[in-house]
């Protein structure tokens, strides 16, 4: 089993918090966005007790990645300034394609632009999947969109749906074209039905439509990996060891920590 952590750090120097989560949860692959810490500095903190972590280099410096194995087992195959697509190749398990994304904020891009960005990303993922010869793909990152938005749900976008049963159909044809599904477990992480955080990001403003809680940070799973992915092990974290990442009312504490909560999940590989 491999444990993955994604966290948009909001440019905060949260080395100790990352190390606390990494060590407590035995994180195998650590993916960061808006990380202001130099990789070497973060490695020193991560490896203070034992030299467990390695930097997994790529050309995208905005999405640094670390792993509990040498970086050569997680090479980049396609990158841009917003995505890093890695090939997870740990013998003897089958390769998995890991797509890590940090999309532009809603402050800067309108809904139409975000939707189009998803279309381009979906095409890029399809190209990489064809090249690598399989669809054992998992996407994680800060999409700056909710799971219900058109770019995430739309067939020509990421085509990520709320249930395993629908995603298990593998693909759906629209106007004669076939579009592969992703399963999006983040649909199950809205609201206060459990004691866990009501989303990964909180935003409040004086306008009529306001969701307050958002799940901008998401993990999407291709049908080919559904039997390896356990929904009950996907967690939005509001603590990092002794450090609370939230305020008393549950919102992310953007002063002490980040405005996003970290996302933790596992794959049985």
């Amino acid at each position: 089993m491999l444990t993955f952590l994604f966290w948009n750090m909001n440019r905060k120097p949260l080395s100790e918090a990352i190390a606390a989560i990494a060590n407590a949860e035995l994180v195998d692959i650590l993916m960061l966005a808006e990380c202001p810490i130099e990789p070497a500095d973060l490695l020193r903190t991560l490896n203070r007790e034992e030299p467990a972590y390695h930097f997994a280099p790529g050309q995208n410096e905005k999405i640094p990645m670390f792993a509990r194995f040498p970086g050569r087992y997680l090479p980049a195959v396609y990158e841009s300034d917003r995505i890093s697509i890695r090939r997870l190749m740990l013998p003897p398990i089958d390769d998995v394609t890991l797509v890590v994304v940090h999309f532009p904020s809603k402050f800067f891009w309108d809904d139409a632009s975000q939707m189009m960005e998803c279309t381009v990303l979906a095409n890029t993922i399809t190209e990489v999947e064809k090249k690598l010869g399989h669809r054992r793909t998992i996407l994680v990152g800060d999409l700056n969109m909710n799971p219900f938005e058109e770019g995430v749900v739309g067939a020509a976008g990421l085509h990520a749906v709320a249930t395993r049963a629908i995603a298990g159909r593998n693909a759906r044809a629209v106007q004669g074209r076939s579009y592969p599904f992703f399963y999006n477990p983040m649909w199950g992480h809205f609201g206060d039905a459990s004691a866990r955080p009501a989303g990964t990001y909180y935003y409040e403003r004086a306008e009529h439509v306001n969701y307050f809680w958002n799940n901008f940070d998401q993990v999407l799973v291709r049908p080919e990996l559904l039997d390896r992915f356990r929904s009950d092990q996907l967690r939005i974290l509001d603590r990092a060891g002794d450090l609370s990442l939230s305020l008393d009312d549950g919102r992310p504490d953007r002063d002490k920590a980040s405005d996003h909560f970290p996302l933790l999940f596992t794959l049985d590989l």
């Binding site: 050309q59 090479p75 396609y78 841009s80 300034d81 917003r82 532009p104 632009s113 189009m116």
Partner: protein
């Protein structure tokens, strides 16, 4: 007397003199292979987005590393070459404002700026170092 053929099409001679964004990008892409003895290859991948616009991605491929880097992505309306909209690229200003290039001259200046930027040079240097290590 033969019937005269009527031609209602507009004068198309001017269209051929317009340099398209795609051709400018392809020229630069082709030069990368020449400059690096094909250790790195430039490529432009184009797609039509729902029939409304053409999206061009400028890619650097490192065949021996099995690696591709997208340097930038631009788009324009299917029916008009300009303005060209910059959708992603190495400049941080792209995070905060939509860059549009209204003419061939503006696009050429922008392309020169991006390909010669420190960000692009860092990627090229890093890839070449990995290939030759």
């Amino acid at each position: 007397m033969p019937e005269q053929t009527l031609d209602f099409w507009p004068d198309l001679s001017g269209a051929r003199s317009t340099v398209t964004p795609l051709s400018l990008m392809k020229q630069q892409a082709a030069l990368l292979g020449t400059r690096t003895h094909n250790l790195l290859e430039g490529e432009v991948a184009s797609t039509a987005d729902q029939g409304r616009r053409l999206v061009h991605r400028f890619l650097i491929r490192a065949p021996t590393l099995n690696y591709t880097y997208e340097v930038f992505r631009v788009s324009h309306n299917v029916a008009a070459l300009y303005p060209v909209f910059v959708e992603s690229g190495p400049h941080s200003r792209l995070q905060t404002q939509q860059v549009h290039l209204d003419s061939e001259i503006e696009f050429m200046a922008w392309l020169k700026d991006v390909l010669g930027s420190d960000d692009t040079k860092r990627v090229l240097d890093s890839l070449l170092a990995q290939i030759e290590s």
